[in-house]
């Protein structure tokens, strides 16, 4: 008898992967340092005392200075070749006797040049040299892909499915973007691109302008009102649908899979802002406290990985998280660049790639 045929499991095939910077995904680089080996324990503490005051190594603060009988002296780069080590130590005004002791047994060893950020890196580097490590539970979860609950994953997947569906059925496979207020899992704005009207009207650029509409403003209202009809909301409603084009709402109403997704953005609050001194003392979510401001606290979902212009537009707009489904040749969050990993920027959003293995991605 044939074994019973396995029922094909209808399951969620998507995985949501955080796009993390190299600090988290690459092994730590190594660097060469001079070490001395000292067998007498008393000597070690004597030498350590001198080194601590006269020869600190600030760039290696993540390392313990001593491993067994070996002591880190300095980076090789600071000194150069071995014959320069003695004059280098003399210039630092170490005791002559100590210098003699140090120079008896010196060697060059490789040590981790940067502190480990994640457990897997720590496991590697601490075998090379004893190392300090401050575990970050949230970053570990993002690396492992366990930061979302099943319910959250289901919501991300629902939005991804909605975008793919709309793109295929009414946008001729063009890009689409959705802005979500994650406090209510409610859609704030939805947009397609309008590059026939303007070469800079990429879908994320339009999306942030539709978000501005929900805050009673916006820059392209005149230009786009002829191209797009918008939902009207009841005047006394707490939420506004001003960022939702009618054609998308209609599509959602007509499709069983999508019609239960919540729509609407919180309206601008009339409350006066707290004084900046008071505000400095507070912590937590600015969106909850002060109401809508640009895309603060909002999540942005895009069918297509954004280009550099759009990626930076989302930084300026202070988006909380950016999810995308398809990689782009000019994508600037994973493919060509990781804009969200540039430390100088004044705002950093999290980036996730929603992988849809069961979807024809052509």
């Amino acid at each position: 008898m044939e074994p019973p045929q396995k029922k094909p499991k209808i399951q969620n095939m998507s995985t949501i992967q955080a796009i993390l910077s190299h600090e988290y995904t690459e092994p730590n680089k190594l660097m060469e340092v001079y070490v001395t080996a000292v067998d007498d324990k008393k000597q070690i503490s004597k030498i350590m005392q001198q080194l601590a005051t006269l020869l600190p190594v600030p760039q290696l603060q993540h390392l313990k200075r001593v491993k067994d009988n070996k002591i880190i002296l300095c980076s090789k780069e600071d000194v150069g070749s071995l014959e320069k080590l003695k004059p280098f130590l003399e210039a630092k005004a170490l005791d002559t006797a100590i210098i003699e002791e140090i120079l008896q047994k010196t060697e060059i060893v490789e040590v981790p040049a940067t502190p480990p950020k994640l457990r897997w890196q720590y496991d590697i580097v601490h075998r090379i040299w004893p190392c300090k490590f401050h575990p970050d539970k949230y970053m570990e979860q993002r690396y492992e892909g366990t930061n979302f609950t099943d319910k959250e994953k289901e919501f991300h997947w629902n939005i991804a499915t909605l975008m793919m569906d709309i793109s295929r059925k009414i946008l001729d496979n063009q890009g689409i973007g959705v802005c979500v207020d994650p406090r209510f899992n409610s859609l704030v704005a939805m947009s397609s691109s309008f590059t026939t009207k303007s070469p800079v009207m990429h879908c994320p650029m339009i999306l942030v302008d539709y978000v501005a509409r929900t805050q009673d403003s916006g820059a392209w209202n005149e230009k786009l009102n002829s191209a797009e009809d918008f939902m009207e909301s009841e005047k006394d409603s707490e939420h506004t649908l001003a960022g939702i084009p009618k054609r998308f709402k209609q599509f959602m109403d007509e499709h069983e899979d999508h019609k239960n997704i919540k729509l609407g953005a919180e309206r601008l609050r009339n409350t006066e802002k707290l004084k900046s001194e008071d505000v400095q003392m507070l912590d937590g979510d600015n969106l909850a406290k002060y109401g809508p401001y640009l895309c603060t606290g909002y999540d942005v979902y895009l069918l297509q990985e954004p280009c550099l212009m759009c990626s930076m537009a989302l930084v300026h707009s202070r988006a909380k998280r950016v999810f995308f489904i398809k990689f782009s040749d000019n994508g600037s969050l994973a493919t060509r660049f990781q804009l969200h990993s540039v430390p100088e920027l004044n705002h950093h959003y999290e980036v996730y790639h929603i992988k849809c293995d069961n979807i024809d991605m052509s």
Partner: protein
């Protein structure tokens, strides 16, 4: 230098922005020796953080093309962008995509300059001639004057973890 007078026109825009509480950055686009677009930051007025002076000008150029029956892909490559502050990463990327002729700016933008902070040509795989330092002090003084007062719409800083 030939761009001095255009930079002064950009400063007129920047000062206008300052007077209405916007970040004082001004910009003009020069096409065949004439200013065809001028603008300043309109972020607070529109509640759209992408409304930098350069984007105001890009929209005006498209209008200029529509009115004159010109193709924008023919016009942008002949445009010199004159702006008081180094274009940010977003604006620089847009201007590279549009293949403008050149970008002349006043002071650098250490926080998100499209040259100082990120190598935009490397990311977008296209290079536009970019030159900074024209009237840099004047541009910086305007910014300082703005940041003495506070941006009325600035978000509340989250305390660092």
């Amino acid at each position: 230098m030939i761009f001095d007078k255009f930079m002064q026109e950009a400063f007129v825009e920047a000062r206008r922005a300052l007077s209405v509480g916007e970040v004082p950055v001004g910009c003009v686009f020069v096409y065949e020796g004439n200013v065809i677009a001028r603008g300043a930051n309109e972020v607070n007025a529109t509640k759209n953080a992408t409304r930098h002076a350069e984007f105001i000008c890009i929209d005006q150029v498209l209008e200029f093309c529509t009115v004159g029956g010109l193709k924008s892909e023919d016009v942008f490559p002949k445009i010199s962008v004159v702006v008081t502050v180094e274009p940010c990463i977003m604006c620089s990327a847009a201007l590279h995509d549009l293949k403008v002729k050149e970008i002349i700016y006043g002071c650098a933008n250490d926080r998100f300059g499209g040259k100082t902070v990120v190598d935009v040509p490397q990311v977008v795989d296209y290079t536009v001639k970019v030159e900074g330092g024209l009237c840099a002090d004047e541009a910086m003084d305007l910014l300082k004057e703005f940041y003495k007062g506070e941006n009325p719409s600035a978000p509340v800083a989250k305390s660092k973890r």
